[in-house]
């Protein structure tokens, strides 16, 4: 990394030297050239990766989506927007998009609210903070595969902990991962357990940044803990809440791992998210071009959601 910088620098050196006295006397034109060189020099290593592994795949993906390219090597030629037209008429794609949005909607609310409750509890100043923090956050450190193994086992209809608990309460057993009406909720529960710790830490950090004077003034005025929470903590947290909701929506829209591992998209496609559909059309169905087209439709929707979120946040802060 540093050697490439050094060589860039040394090639830049001669024209600087001929222009004026080197280094100490810094004339505007000379220092600007130097700044341009060193600026782009520092940016180069990142830019190389950025262009090769991000920009190029994006552009190449667009090209692929306009071809009939397949993993078996057939038909590399351009076919225009045929893939997009086919995708828009593809009920399975719409269903997987619907599943993704459904998951995003039903997961975001608990992932934000439970995180807020967790942080509010700890913000009271409880003893053994580290223990609660560790318990809430530890699942976030697990790989999706570990989470899926844990929960598939707990959801097991005959041997699992969930149904054992239900039957102890005298309730009927549930086919957690095999009932199309329940499976997505089962995935939401596992996801909540797995990732809420991240939002919790963001909330906790934000709460601890609220100046203590606010609370002192309020308690002098006789405001109780609840009053303080709703009149000081929550309003002060608004930017954090907005940010957590934004990040959570974008994260939830990318769901794939835990679904693929726990239900493989079933039963009957009821949990299959769009990322899995992209994966399947490309790698199981061998239709890379078609798969790329679906990727870009999904990408377009994410951009749309981001722009809408951005607009809402701006209006709120204006």
């Amino acid at each position: 990394m540093s050697s490439s910088l050094a060589s860039r620098r040394s090639t830049g050196q001669p024209d600087i030297a001929t222009a004026t006295q080197p280094q100490q006397t810094r004339r505007p034109s000379q220092s600007r050239t130097r700044s341009n060189l060193s600026g782009w020099g520092f940016a180069t290593p990142f830019l190389v990766f950025f262009l090769v592994f991000l920009v190029w795949p994006i552009l190449y993906g667009i090209y692929m989506s306009l071809t009939g390219k397949s993993l078996t090597g057939a038909n590399d030629s351009l076919i225009g927007f045929a893939n997009y037209a086919e995708a828009l008429a593809d009920a399975d794609m719409w269903r997987s998009l619907g599943n993704t949005f459904y998951f995003t909607v039903i997961s975001t609310v608990p992932l934000v609210l439970v995180a807020l409750v967790m942080a509010a509890l700890l913000n009271v100043g409880l003893p053994a903070q580290w223990l609660w923090r560790l318990s809430y956050f530890a699942p976030y450190l697990l790989a999706s595969t570990v989470v899926s193994l844990f929960f598939t086992w707990m959801y097991n209809p005959q041997l699992g902990l969930f149904n054992d608990f239900l039957s102890k309460l005298g309730l009927p057993k549930v086919a957690w991962l095999n009932d199309p009406n329940v499976a997505m909720w089962a995935i939401v529960i596992a996801t909540l357990w797995w990732t809420v710790g991240f939002n919790f830490l963001l909330y906790l950090a934000a709460m601890q940044n609220i100046p203590a004077q606010h609370y002192e003034a309020a308690s002098l005025d006789g405001a109780g803990a609840w009053r303080q929470f709703f009149s000081i903590t929550l309003p002060q947290l608004t930017p954090t809440t907005v940010m957590i909701v934004l990040l959570q929506i974008l994260a939830s829209m990318k769901i794939f791992d835990q679904v693929y591992q726990m239900t493989a998209g079933g039963p009957g496609g009821s949990t299959r998210p769009v990322v899995q559909y992209i994966f399947e059309t490309g790698f199981t169905g061998y239709r890379l071009g078609y798969s790329a087209a679906i990727s870009y439709i999904f990408f377009g929707l994410i951009v749309l959601v981001s722009v809408m979120q951005f607009a809402v946040t701006r209006r709120r802060s204006a």
Binding site: R32, F42, F46, P57, L131, L149, L159, D164, S295, F299
Partner: protein, 298 residues
């Protein structure tokens, strides 16, 4: 769990209470909060406890139709022994470790360099570069799997570790986090060095980087956890059994063992262990890391 935690604050009261937190008493509200916090903590620990209980059972007990925390045949480490004899978990852990370490190292170097340029150097096209990098934050990695896979095929990198590593080193959000931190470092600190004719690279490595250790650690932790746990891309990029990372390897174990619950749970726990241990050692830095890098979106 409740007893030791309740005794702690009183012990603290007698020593440092008066200095640090003058109004720290166990009020009724606090006790209520403690009870709720403990309840959630128990819920959150149950999956770990249940997996551990299962992993230490015989397969017969684990598969018994009656849920039991205390198995009839007693606890045994049989499942762990079998998983270890298998030899896969250590291999996958090693694969995860060195790919994640490489991803973290490359990410740190290239991101810190570009962030420094964006923070401190006035150069032509800086605004455009900044806008492009910020805009790229919204690109969801899953939409790139198809072209990236094809690119790796073309570069003959499929079934090498490079296929796992290279596409994971671009973290536009982290560039932004680093830039924001560099912005806060007072310029006066560099001015003396500039007067002495120190090069940019020298200022960067000898003044900026040493002052940025906390944020560098935060970014490193964040990127490492992400790389360690990434499933989708390593799953696509490697078919070679010798290269599988921990999450991808574990996915294959499920079908291989069929219904061997104790071994499944033993594998899962062994896979979870490294990061949990790391967390126990670096708790403070990790929490700070998530808080600072996660908050960067604002």
């Amino acid at each position: 769990m409740a007893t030791p935690t309740l005794t702690r604050p009183t012990a603290r009261t007698s020593t440092s209470e008066g200095l640090r937190r003058p109004r720290k008493k166990m009020t009724a509200g606090k006790i209520a909060a403690l009870v709720v916090a403990a309840f959630i903590a128990v819920l959150w620990l149950i999956p770990f406890a249940w997996a551990t209980a299962t992993a230490f059972k015989t397969e017969t007990d684990a598969a018994a139709p009656k849920v039991s925390w205390m198995p009839p045949s007693g606890f045994t480490a049989e499942a762990f022994v079998k998983v270890f004899q298998d030899g896969n978990i250590p291999l996958w852990t090693w694969n995860s470790f060195y790919t994640s370490a490489a991803i973290t190292a490359i990410t740190l170097v290239i991101s810190a360099l570009v962030a420094y340029a964006l923070s401190r150097i006035d150069f032509k096209g800086k605004k455009v570069l900044m806008t492009v990098i910020i805009a790229s934050i919204i690109i969801p990695p899953p939409v790139l799997i198809i072209p990236l896979f094809y690119q790796m095929l073309a570069l003959h990198l499929i079934d090498t570790s490079w296929a796992i590593i290279l596409p994971q080193v671009i973290h536009p959000a982290m560039v932004f986090v680093l830039k924001k931190f560099f912005d806060q470092i007072p310029r006066e600190l560099e001015e003396a060095a500039v007067m002495d004719g120190a090069s940019r690279l020298r200022i960067f490595t000898q003044i900026i980087l040493p002052l940025s250790r906390p944020i560098l650690a935060a970014v490193a932790i964040f990127v490492f956890i992400g790389a360690w746990n990434n499933f989708l891309w390593p799953f696509i990029a490697t078919n070679d059994g010798a290269l599988l990372t921990l999450p991808v390897g574990l996915q294959t174990i499920k079908s291989a063992y069929g219904i061997q619950y104790a071994q499944n749970m033993a594998s899962a726990l062994l896979a979870a262990l490294p990061l949990i241990l790391v967390f126990l050692f670096f708790q403070r830095q990790i929490i700070k890391g998530v808080a600072t890098t996660g908050l960067a979106g604002t």
